[in-house]
Amino acid sequence: MEEKHAAIEVADLTVAYQEKPVLWDVDMYVPEGILMAIVGPNGAGKTTLIKAIMGLIQPAAGQISIYGKPFREQRGLVGYVPQRGSVDWDFPTNVLDVVMMGRYGRLGWIRRPGREEERLALEALEKVGMARYSERQISQLSGGQQQRVFLARALVQEAQIYFMDEPFQGVDATTERAIITLLKELSAANKTVVAVHHDLQTVPEYFDYVTLLNVRCIASGPVEQVFSEENLRATYGGRVAFLTAAGNGAEQVEPAATTAGHGAI
């Protein structure tokens, strides 16, 4: 892959909750327009990494830049899909309303969403195949539908960079395919996506880059260069079984009843 403009650069990032370090000296370079997976066992600090980049957690040390500038100057360029379980889905509101929240950043304080925001939200719902559900109360959605709503909400942010925390968690196969198609479209439009991912098997198929994280950054770079048995072993400890298959050179990896999220198929 040719050398590209850096969308995100993280240098020497250390984050601690109280005294306990959760991320140690993490370096990460994300070129513009790529799809990057962040993988690592539960509690590896994947969510923390995303939150620290987005200024939601104060790091103990390190630098973070988005297109060469600090995050707070670049908010408008960043879209966010939090972990689905991070909100209360019994909140009294409907699908359209939640998607419109993605526009609040553009609106700024006090100004209310109007026709234009509604149009954009409906357009985004169309893209994720949820247009029919715009008036649906959010507590009545399935897991996959909730994930699509969050995705639509990120799309209306019209960002350059998207952070997604476990976008495939608990979704059905159809939704997974719909999401990956969407990610490829974003990438084709030169948008950058960084997503926490659990299914090691699909990493080479879905993503261009991968960061292997377990408190420290074990490796980060193009999938074909860093997604190796050795690095995976370093990330997951001895808990991953491997099958090295002939083919396109990428490793076929099978998480044997070990890592969280998707188990072995």
Partner: protein
């Protein structure tokens, strides 16, 4: 109705609605206990403010109370962040400490002023109309009506202006922060509002019952609607109903008005809790019963489908064998068969059950969903 009675009901209604509006966000943020703490600790702010300005009617007392409300919230969060105490335990530590300090200060140093502890705990709405606001020599109404209308307007204005920010920060604080709306600022703004409301409500309903006025109307409304705007409106309506009916109950029973208001609000909640059309206990029980029968009918069609056209069909699909094969009690099996027949899912041919086209389709669909 005498003028005094009308005035009392007006004050009660304004107090109740003023409490219910910020209460909606407290309920959605699971902060009921925090509001209880605030409504007590603001007393310490009033007492300290009183020692400084030595005037019980000074508006500075309200400022002092609001600051104390925010201090309460920060202390609880500080304790909680150490991860040594849970949030509810932190509230349980901070609130009695500050409140008891206030009570000690009052009984020790301010025994002769209006701050007596009975009034502090329960308030006395019945006396509120006797404190008149006199402007240029003419009586324009009870002071409490003006202060509480002021608080109500403040709450209404705050919620109208920052509706979008309150909604976002309550539903998804992380997104609010990422988009540049400081959820901390919104949080403390709301807590300041709760503190001011608590102080305002203090005189009339006392500190114990403020929490009931803040929480009961929103939780009732929550069970009835899927929209935040409707929840706000319904909460205000319930608050007003509770205030007025509460007044009359107190009148007939010769009881404390604030207490009767809280009781009526509790009653409203009880009724909603039982009979809310979708989320009430009765509706839930009905739905569960319906689902039980629907599930049983689906199981029956699947059983019949599995044996359809096999040699065992004649054996398996006899009505009296169902209870054995599906492990159903015979009366239950008979009821399921009867319902399935009524819905056109199965037909009975002299003792044997056969699927209709609809029944076959239901079985297939159920199996599809399960895989």
């Amino acid at each position: 109705m005498s003028l005094t009675q009308i005035e009392i009901q007006l004050i009660a209604t304004v107090v109740a609605v003023a409490c219910a509006l910020p209460g909606v966000f407290l309920v959605l943020r699971s902060m009921a206990m925090m509001s209880d703490a605030i409504s007590h600790t603001v007393l310490l702010g009033i007492v300290i403010g009183f020692f400084i300005v030595e005037d019980i009617n000074s508006p500075l007392l309200i400022a002092g109370a609001a600051v104390m409300g925010l201090i309460t919230v920060s202390l609880v969060e500080l304790l909680n962040r150490t991860r040594l105490v849970q949030e509810d335990a932190a509230i349980g530590l901070v609130f009695p400490a500050l409140f008891s300090l206030a009570v000690i200060l009052i009984s020790r140093f301010a025994g002769d002023v209006h701050l007596d502890s009975d009034a502090v705990l329960l308030g006395e709405l019945a006396f509120a109309p006797f404190d008149r606001l006199v402007i240029a020599g003419s009586d324009v109404g009870p002071v409490a009506l003006y202060t509480m209308t002021g608080v109500l307007l403040l709450n209404l204005t705050f919620i109208l202006i920052f509706y979008k920010e309150l909604k976002l920060a309550t539903f998804d604080a992380a997104l609010a922060a990422a988009l540049g709306f400081s959820p901390g600022l919104i949080h403390y703004g709301l807590m300041g509002l709760v503190s001011i409301t608590a102080v305002g409500a203090f005189d009339t309903v006392g500190s114990i019952l403020v929490v009931a006025l803040m929480i009961a109307p929103p939780v009732s409304a929550y069970l009835l609607t899927d929209r935040l705007t409707t929840m706000l409106g319904l909460s205000a309506v319930f608050a007003a109903i509770g205030a007025i009916t509460g007044y009359w109950v107190a009148h007939w029973l010769d009881a404390n008005i604030a207490g009767s208001m809280a009781m009526m609000l509790g009653l409203i909640f009880g009724v909603v809790f039982l009979f809310a059309p979708e989320r009430g206990m009765v509706a839930l029980a009905q739905r569960r019963a319906r689902q039980k029968w629907e599930f049983a009918q689906a199981a029956l069609t699947i059983h019949l489908l599995n044996h359809e056209g096999t040699p065992a069909a004649a054996q398996e699909n006899r009505v009296e064998h169902l209870s054995h094969h599906l492990r159903w009690q015979p009366p239950f099996a008979a009821e399921v068969v009867q319902r399935a027949q009524r819905h056109g899912l199965v037909e009975r041919h002299n003792g044997y059950l056969a699927l209709t086209d609809d029944g076959r389709q239901l079985a297939r669909e159920t199996l599809m969903l399960a895989t």
